[in-house]
Symmetry: C2
Subunit: 216 residues, 2 copies
């Protein structure tokens, strides 16, 4: 994040944390489970959310997606065309969602109509890390197409996430990336106890493991 002057950052993060806690309590009071999906543009967050929602809907779970982007309604459109209920949330200029933007979006939704809310954060592997939104889980999604160095370059987002997902595992060879390097880096960064989940949204592999990690 942009540190503007000493002390200022702490205030912003403290205020965000306060509102995130309110969001959490609000969603809990309606029995909603929620997930924040973070990751770079092209990591496959939108497609992943669509596939996970399809699986949940087949079981009778009512899902809604919040599509976070700087500008435009591309992801909102993709959700809608896939038959997933969705709400668009543009930041205007900001490089990440924050708890206040999510609070405003939640206030426009009929929360009694959903069991699960999937929030797709702005495509950015750096800044969303600093801003919890009040969800049950924070998930970081990366793709083999991003190279094998994303864990080494971006500690924060991996350390601030509950679950890490490596997508597009099916084209790792085509983009000359060895997934083992990424999985090992993640294991080392997180102290050896956590395992990154590999998946291919396109080939529909790894999705059940993700739902199980999310306790859904």
């Amino acid at each position: 994040m942009h540190i503007v002057q000493p002390g200022m950052e702490i205030d912003v993060l403290k205020e965000n944390g306060k509102i995130a806690a309110e969001n959490y309590r609000l969603m809990k009071s309606r029995g909603i489970k929620s997930v924040d999906f973070m990751g770079s543009i092209g990591a496959g967050k939108t497609a992943l959310i669509i596939k996970l929602a399809e699986k949940l809907k087949a079981r009778g779970v009512r899902v809604c997606a919040i599509a976070g982007d700087v500008t435009g309604a591309d992801d909102y459109g993709r959700f809608s065309r896939a038959g997933l209920e969705a709400v668009n949330c543009n930041t205007g200029h900001e490089c990440h969602l924050d708890a206040n933007l999510v609070r405003k979006t939640l206030s426009k939704m009929d929360l009694d109509a959903y069991d699960v809310i999937f929030i797709e954060n702005v495509g950015n592997l750096v800044c969303p890390a600093d801003f919890p939104l009040g969800t049950d889980y924070r998930v970081v999604v990366v793709s083999t197409t991003e190279g094998d160095d994303m864990v080494r370059k971006h500690h924060d987002i991996f350390l601030h996430s509950d679950i890490a997902i490596l997508n597009k595992i099916d084209i790792a060879d085509a983009v000359d990336v060895n997934p083992e390097v990424i999985l090992e880096d993640y294991k080392r960064l997180t102290g050896g106890n956590k395992k990154m989940i590999t998946c291919s949204v396109k080939k529909e592999t790894g999705l059940d493991e993700i739902l199980s990690a999310l306790k859904l």
Copy 2:
């Protein structure tokens, strides 16, 4: 960028602009041409810089790269292993380089030893847009693997760049992306006068067009 409170953003950007102008004058006084390469993680900035530098070195041009990353020295290592002189520049936490970080890095370099400085910004398609570094050119590099919606989602970085490059054009089919959509979006956003350059660093296509656009 993170807007912290009204007015504060303007001060930060103004201060950055002042130092960027100093960086520009410093490099000009030594006859150095400089380029800021921005784009998401995995767009191919490092590989592109290596290839462009090889072509320039073959012509006797002396090139140095500044490797900008939040943490680690991955890109610095890649530059060095490729035989390109390089300096590492970690932001520590920040999601983008700023003019002050570049000024500090320049102060550690022997500027009389180079004709061209390529700066690789932090892998991030949002935040670097706000922070000019004082280079001759600002270039945004995107990849077909990022999907076809990056221009529609991230106006700022395309509007703040002099040159836009679409990399990994050779695997567009494999990742189900139609490059024409991206090229059209860019043309429309920039008023119809500017053309995004397509390239494949891996297949070494489009590189001469990029050097020519950079007047190198």
